[in-house]
Amino acid sequence: MRATMIGRKTRRRGALHSLGSWPARALPLGALLATGCTGVIGNQGDGQLGGPPSGGAGTPAAGGSPGTAIDVPSPEIPLPGATLAANSALRRLTSYEYDNTIRDLLGDDSRRSRELLPEDNRKLFDNDYTTQATSTALIEGAELLASDVVKRLMTDQARRHALVGCTPAGATDQACFQAFLTRFGRLALRRPLSADEVARWGAAFMPLAQDAKDFYAAVESALLAFLQHPELLYRVETGAAVVGAPGIYKLTDWQLAARLSYFIWGSTPDELLLDQAAAGALRSPEGVRGAATRLLNDKRARELWSRFHAQWFGYDGAPLTPDLAAGMVQETAALIGRVVFDDARPWQDLFRATETFIDGRLAAHYGMPSSDSTPRWVRYDASSQRKGILSHASFLAVGAKFEDTSPTMRGIAVRERLLCTTVPPPPPGVDVDAPPLDDAGACKEERYQMHRHGGCAGCHALIDEIGFGLERFDQQGRYRTREEKLPACAIRGQGELVGVGSFSGPGELGDRLIQSGELNNCAATQLHRFTVGRTELDETDRRAVELLARRMGGGDFRLGDLILDVVSADAFRHVRRD
């Protein structure tokens, strides 16, 4: 296992790019999109910073750029303060968070939430509290889920004994039960239970032990109550009103610990984090940064941030060749793990990596030379046009349509997800579900000529051109030079990120995205959406994003450092309630 490097010191590359230092070619990107389309289009955040990437492509060991200088946050640009705290509300744990919480509290990794609970609506990330709804199906599903988990625990004597932590002297051993409630209650509700509360829990459930003549009947009942308790199912962030700042509330130490662990782990705080909260160690930015550094060095963070990228880039749940799907998912997770955690490389190396983590089967799928049965890092051939995450089957599966790639859908995915521009819906009279027209054997680029006329042309020129640059890679990531259904049609594979430059293949598209100077601003926007659990941003959010983006600068940044910046900001320890 590689040593994780989160939290190490970064090297200062130089002064932050000023607003005036935008490269002339980066600026028109949003403007072009805005003027060329029918409808409203434009960057969601404004005030982007830009600048040419310092790294350049390809470096030895990881295929990334270990020598790339990092923009170190400038002290002149502060982190978002309390007045930029985000609007928030009760956030119900997502299915993923609930499964993780069960795993970490009870050692049960059965992960059945998705089967038993209704799925919330999703726009981008699955933690959008504004789309969460309560229903009979949810309540009864949650009850059954809790019952299943507790039943499994109660039949596993070793696990049960470890959880209870004492051996009951009899069916009604109050002391043992209270000790259990006190210890487990703090973990489950993410705050200590008062003596009165412990007594109340005891009074509610000990009679069941008496009734059943079994101490564990009380434990079982209490566990069922904990797993359905509002303070477990929801993140309650009441906080305390801040004097002189109407609408701003400071989170309690316990609430901050929970916010921290769900943000970095997607799970409940562990004992150590709660101990740190109890000791007041989270009251300073340095304390939070230290605690967060420990969380980031845990494998739970690796999983959460891999998932974050999957939802951001849009390949979470993408249709993959079933017998290779696990390898494809692992390939991308390994790259994120290496860039973000193991080597703490610049985040932009996700787009630059010249090695990928695959086994022989996946290598054969990609047409790469490797026959190992276990995955290992394999270097791309320099002429392969592959480099980084955009070369992975996971990403290339995004936007597949009619059993083929869709240059339009790929272009929309890049524009909306990676550059944070809004692409308007198609104009009237367009049926996006209609299959490609059978134009007597016309090649794909010819068929897409219909997009280049009239009201369609403005947007499609900016969208399709991205997709056509990826056309030599099919919807499962295989290289191709001819259309599968029309072998007479050679695929050019040439595209353009309008306003930045032309490219051929996913490797060069990654370079162009970095070069655009808009990737960092979008990263700040998407990270903020994930942090606050809301896709729609308000004016306060936009100001916080702008500040974060300015600190990031236009060049390389490390995601781990960015996360530490976010959590140590005053805005993170406060909540706004308008």
Partner: protein, 510 residues
């Protein structure tokens, strides 16, 4: 026939001998289960003081595909009785239910041609997907969002209106089930209202009432959760140990829920108004569950309904939309056939036990991406088949697949004998509608499209309220909602309109 028995309230109810328990249980796990040691319970509306006369029941089902592609293989050539069954309705003969079901053809939903125009009453805007549910099941126009996809009707759906009329004191006013558990579309915006069919009235005190007078009745997509919800409190046998165990479990569950709801009350006092409202919804649902548990008898009764073995949920399928190599595997399919079996059993027993009288049964999402290779050998998903990825036969097979799942409920109900004679199906009115028909598509402005609400059909089953089953009714120019309204009227709904659509289809009645 078994001798009649009296329940505690004196209502006579006979054990349903026409129903083979073995047959009823067939769906659970897909394995024939021998007569289990499951015992009988007193339960439901009649046990709560209703008349001994069997009540009517209602079920509305929905399939998220269109029924044709320039033409169809669905509408019979023969009008009236003994109609011919084409490929798209083959399940009617396969299941032996043709004479229990009428097909209504020639239906439509009106539309607005211009992009921002207000649709006509009961109509849809020009966007197809998502805008026919409200028109068909609530008789209203759907709310229009800028992207055209929303699917929220402007009034409660038919299952809710029927429940208002006939639910009585049943424990579950409406049962909302969905067979297809996940969307398979593989993007991040897969669900939403595409997964929802039933909409209930929003309380006038709700802050959103002015802008949206309805709220969703979230469907159960897990047969296990649905089972647990129905059969809580049923003892697996009458022996003392089993009955005692169920009694304890009920007591435990009520204690837990009572404690949780108490703590919610405390917590709500510390919350701001918006959070309090969110928590209040959760609290209300917990309290409702507590009440249902409170009404569930803890020991065996003798009114003639029985529990079923607890089912297991088939594994969830993965996304589809990627090519032959995916279609030819298990992607895009969660064993919906078995899931439909399980739900059909639950619905039949919920009706038998009079736990509920109105059911919303969503077979597939609108714009359904279910893999048809799994069920009929076509290497594509249903949605793409309706856009030419396969021949017309593939669309017909998709239509037929939905009919088969709906038909499972018909066969179950037909097998249950009512205490006063006849079968459950005789006291049930049920409808099946599809997302679209085929014909003119105002969105793309072309003919012979599956994105059309011309040439639509509805299936109406059962014999409640004088329904005349087993005929083909040509109802040219009628709205789909009129076929639905016919089933509603047959079940006991007294209204003469559904939303903005008036009048049933008289030919469906004797």
């Amino acid at each position: 026939m078994s001798p009649p028995r009296k329940n505690k309230l004196g209502a006579i109810r006979r054990i349903p001998t026409a129903l083979s328990r073995r047959a009823l249980l067939r769906g659970f796990g897909g394995v024939a289960v021998g007569l289990p040691a499951l015992e009988l319970m007193g339960f439901g509306g009649r046990a709560h003081g209703q008349s001994a006369s069997p009540p009517n029941r209602f079920l509305v089902a929905y399939g998220g595909i269109s029924t044709g592609l320039g033409s169809d293989q669905v509408v019979p050539d023969t009008v009236g009785r003994n109609y011919d069954v084409k490929r798209g309705l083959k399940a009617l003969t396969d299941l032996g239910i043709r004479d229990d079901v009428s097909i209504v053809s020639g239906l439509h939903i009106p539309w607005a041609e211009a992009v921002n125009a207000t649709p006509p009453p009961g109509g849809r805007n020009r966007f197809f997907h998502g805008n026919t549910v409200g028109a068909m099941l609530a008789g209203t126009r759907c709310w229009r969002e800028p992207d055209g996809y929303n699917g929220t009707p402007r009034a409660p759906t038919c299952d809710q209106l029927v429940a208002d009329a006939i639910a009585g004191n049943t424990l579950r006013r409406v049962l909302a089930y969905r067979v297809q558990p996940v969307s398979y579309s593989g993007d991040n915006n897969a669900l939403g209202n595409g997964a929802r069919l039933s909409w209930k009235a929003r309380p006038p005190t709700d802050k959103d009432y002015a802008t949206n007078p309805v709220m969703v009745e979230e469907p159960f997509a897990s047969p296990r959760v649905a089972y647990t919800s129905l059969f809580q409190g049923f003892a697996p046998s009458t022996n003392t140990a089993d009955v005692e165990k169920v009694r304890f479990l009920l007591k435990q569950r009520r204690s837990v829920l009572d404690f949780v709801s108490d703590d919610m009350t405390r917590l709500m006092a510390t919350l701001g108004s918006a959070d309090r409202q969110r928590m209040q919804q959760h609290y209300d649902e917990i309290r409702a569950l507590e009440l249902r548990l409170g009404n569930a008898p803890a020991s065996g009764g003798d009114t003639g309904c029985m529990s079923l073995p607890p089912p297991s949920d088939p594994p969830l399928g993965t996304a589809i939309h990627s090519g032959d190599n995916v279609y030819a595997t298990t992607a895009g399919y969660s064993n919906e056939d078995l899931r439909a079996d399980l739900f059909a059993d639950l619905i039949a027993m919920a009706f038998t036990c009079d736990i509920s009288r109105s059911v919303s049964f969503m077979l597939t999402f609108w714009k359904c991406y279910m893999n048809m290779f799994q069920v009929a050998g076509w290497k594509s998903d249903m949605h793409q088949l309706t856009h030419g990825a396969g021949p017309l036969e593939s669309v017909s097979d998709s239509v037929n697949w939905h009919l088969k799942q709906w038909g499972k409920v018909v066969t179950r109900l037909k097998a249950v004998r009512e205490p006063t004679g006849g079968t459950l199906l005789d006291r049930t009115a049920m409808a099946l509608v599809y997302e679209g028909g085929w014909g003119y598509d105002p969105e793309a402005k072309r003919n012979n499209s599956a994105h059309s609400t011309e040439n639509m059909i509805a299936l109406v089953g059962g014999r409640a309220g004088g329904l005349k089953a087993g005929q083909h009714v040509k109802a040219s120019g009628k709205h789909v909602a009129q076929a639905v309204l016919s089933a509603m009227n047959a079940a006991g709904y007294k209204g003469t309109s559904l939303g903005e659509v008036s009048g049933n289809i008289p030919q469906l009645f004797s």
